[in-house]
């Protein structure tokens, strides 16, 4: 009985210590230079977006991007992209674009769809050179542009 209690209290304190460690490392990460909630693109990223989409406004919304906060292997960072935009003949998502700010190829990939796809979902794996914003831009058949972004921390250089 006392044996299991001490084991339990040990596990409890260990878990608390882990939680504290995670919180402090997160705080430290947030304080570092390339982090933070600000996802305003830098000039070279803005240039790529302008080349691709002109001066049309890119608004936030209608997209969800599921990606790990910390990528254990930056050679294979899984992305899951979903959208609630309609997929009908009159209005559909005609393209989904992946932009990674700090990769050698900032514009990583484009996926063109037709209404026959039924839903604008996408699941793939990408490489990342270093910690960076990952941006998804959806272009509709009516010319609207929607975006979402997530900051992903990486460990190893993934550009192989």
């Amino acid at each position: 009985m006392s044996d299991s209690l001490s084991r339990r209290s040990f596990l409890k304190s260990f878990a608390l210590a882990l939680a504290a460690l995670a919180a402090s490392s997160r705080a430290a990460a947030a304080a570092s230079s390339f982090a933070g909630p600000d996802d305003e693109p830098e000039d070279d990223v803005k240039r790529v977006l302008r080349e691709k989409f002109g001066d049309r406004p890119i608004r936030k919304g209608h997209l969800s991007l599921d990606v790990p906060d910390v990528a254990p292997d930056s050679r294979e960072v899984p992305l899951l992209i979903e959208s609630d935009l309609p997929m009908t003949a009159s209005s559909y998502v005609k393209g989904i674009h992946i932009v990674v700010d700090h990769n050698p190829d900032i514009y990583l990939a484009g996926f063109d769809f037709t209404p026959a796809i039924g839903a604008a979902t996408l699941d793939t794996r990408i490489k990342m050179r270093r910690s960076s914003h990952v941006r998804i831009i959806a272009e509709t058949s009516t010319g609207e542009l929607w975006t979402t972004s997530r900051f992903v921390y990486t460990s190893l250089n993934g550009c192989v």
Partner: protein
């Protein structure tokens, strides 16, 4: 790598109902080299990657992907498809050295 370069695989759900939105997964064995890596003897490996993917459903072109070498080795892509007919889904991958790889899978509706 999981297999020889150019070995493609297409995975469909086990059961497919007419007019359902299904998930399709397409996988290709390919090194996807950026041109910035070196081989084991230190010689730079030239860029070698899939840059163009076309998805056909029967005789209809339903999707087209443009890739850079930023897509991971043995490129994987999962996407949706509205299963309106019994027909083949054919994926054709092309790389920057002229390689063309094709794989297809038949959509058949399950009895129910």
């Amino acid at each position: 790598m999981s297999g020889d370069t150019g070995e493609g695989k297409i995975l469909l759900p086990a059961t497919i109902k007419r007019d359902a939105v299904i998930n399709i997964r397409a996988l290709l064995s390919h090194p996807m080299l950026t041109g910035m890596s070196r081989d084991q003897t230190g010689i730079p490996s030239p860029a070698y990657f899939v840059n163009d993917v076309v998805v056909m459903y029967g005789d209809e072109r339903v999707a087209h992907f443009e890739w850079t070498s930023g897509i991971s080795r043995d490129p994987f892509v999962g996407f949706s498809l509205l299963a309106t007919k019994e027909a083949a889904v054919t994926v054709t991958w092309k790389d920057n050295k002229g390689g063309v790889y094709t794989q297809s899978a038949d959509i058949r509706f399950s009895a129910a």
